[in-house]
Symmetry: C2
């Protein structure tokens, strides 16, 4: 399968690495905001991976490198089956990723994206467009990455109705809570350590105030339960107010805090609620430690089941993109 990549940051570069280890995916072009590189006969992923470790300026790549580009020109020039969209996200408009995805679908390309903004804001539109054209639209990397929230919902739940969702979906806050509990740190000290280790971002607001969790819950509900939930309707409380005393007092009761998202799909007006919750060691999420995540699906026929794990890192996110590509490929070729 021939693919093109937009976005050569951490996840994009990890994807190039994984593609280099496979013989069933061919990378034809790679683009970032200012430059790109393409080869109709297929790029050398190992060479590109090494190059991106030194600089993101692809104009100087040598043969096939170029500067400013327009996506319409690129899609005219290079023949690919699928576009991977992995540019930095914009959560207000979803642009320019949304336009790129639309154009690719209109050009008959399958699309896989790791970009939360357009998926949170425009999932139904983009999915409808893809379905109308018989194309795949993979979003697994936007909602848990290595943790297969979307794949499980689309495959493992087939034939059952989803009644409710619970999730610990943010690895950064889970790690901070872990440090506070096991290292006895204050919130500030734990955040700083997580930042030093490259786990928390310089501006951690999205994670620690619960918005990243709420976005993932919203994406999952919209994708799996056909809802049109909006982020602004979610009730969101983060972990910034939690004190060492709160954590210790939970521990004394054999409990621990988790930043938990909950959604009752049977409610009259389903609404995502994200807040820190004390869970006992009988709770399925108690053992989700460190950077791990978890999701629990409540269904009518299959009962309740949870998927736990999928520690956050760029390799896991890239592997989630590969999974989406291969799921689309499997269906194209009618492999039963």
């Amino acid at each position: 399968m021939r693919i093109g990549l937009v976005g050569t940051g951490g996840v994009g570069r990890a994807l190039v690495d994984l593609i280099g280890k496979r013989d069933d995916i061919e990378l034809v072009f790679a683009l970032n905001s200012r430059s790109g590189v393409g080869d109709q006969a297929g790029l050398d992923p190992e060479k590109l991976y090494d190059y991106l470790g030194r600089t993101r300026d692809l104009e100087g790549y040598g043969e096939g490198g170029f500067g400013a580009w327009r996506i319409s020109d690129i899609l005219n020039e290079y023949r690919v089956d699928l576009l991977v969209e992995a540019t930095p996200t914009n959560k207000s408009t979803g642009e320019p990723a949304r336009s790129t995805i639309r154009l690719a679908l209109e050009n008959g390309l399958h699309v896989v994206t790791a970009n939360k903004g357009p998926v949170m804001l425009h999932y139904r539109d983009l999915k409808d467009l893809a379905e109308k054209r018989g194309l795949g639209f993979g979003i697994g990397a936007t909602a848990g990455a290595a943790l297969p929230t979307i794949s499980a919902g689309e495959n493992d739940l087939l034939g059952s109705r989803l009644l409710g969702i619970r999730g610990v979906l943010n690895g950064t806050t889970n790690y901070i809570l872990h440090l506070m509990e096991n290292g006895g740190m204050t919130y500030q000290a734990a955040l700083q350590k997580a930042q030093e280790e490259g786990i928390a971002e310089a501006d951690p607001t999205q994670d620690v105030e619960g918005w990243d969790s709420a976005i993932k819950m919203t994406i999952i509900a919209n994708a799996l339960a056909g809802k049109a939930l909006k982020l602004e309707d979610a009730e969101v409380l983060g972990i910034t107010h939690l004190t060492s005393e709160d954590i210790r007092s939970a521990k004394d009761r054999n409990k621990r805090y988790k930043l938990l998202g909950e959604l009752d799909l049977e409610a009259e007006n389903p609404r995502v609620v994200v807040k820190p919750v004390m869970v006992s060691h009988e709770d399925i999420f108690y053992g989700v430690q460190g950077k791990n995540k978890g999701i629990q699906y409540v269904t009518d026929n299959l009962g309740e089941f949870a998927i736990l794990g999928g520690a956050s890192d760029v390799r896991g996110a890239a592997a989630a993109i590969i999974r989406d590509i291969l799921q689309i490929k499997k269906r194209i070729f009618r492999k039963v």
Copy 2:
């Protein structure tokens, strides 16, 4: 999609019930060891479900009912796309299920089975035959039922290599251990209670001596990792020797026993090991309580992830069959 059913026991009847609630699966015939019923235009699932609640003798069903049958005649007479095989299992030979499955595949039918014997003994043969003919062969109900062990392996792991498997795969023993721990019962008392509640079978040997867990581990490894493991090579120890004192002493240390299956796929000679293991409350399986089950997959690119839940019952097993049918249907119609 038009389907035929062989086997009208608990799971078969629950399947008829679920089919009655859907409009995308049509039941054309249903057979058991001595009788059957068929209608080229589709049976009435609600009527059949009620009938099976009274008697399994389908010869007296009225229109379409018949006595002794041969599967070759049935497949000649009724046109279906897929055969569901859900007869009682034979773990020594896999017959007659194996022959039924082969014949169906040779006749160009997709097959979904809930029958452990033929899958444990002949998975590779049957799968090869299905693949050669471009047909689906669904086995999810044989390895965890509602817990989507096979579906997760085939879909959620795509693009990653499986390095190891850990599983708590037997709901009955998990429930017995739960009673011993929380009710302070002896093994014998807990077994008896589980039998009275219809959870443990009259002859509980397969479950309590660990063979059911070993069979499921073997099926999963053979299906997902392309192995040809044999049950006789497994190292299997059940829970019958555990005393109230063992359970209490674990509890005093904040631990609990789980009947755990483990398999290191990177070992020179991979071998299933099933035995009771004390797990701490940091272990992902600690929270798998009652009749629930769990599986953990260790992978190269997606890290570790576990799926927990899927309490054992006939409805869950029937829902697992529906899931397999719909996964095959989705691929036939190239729905991306």
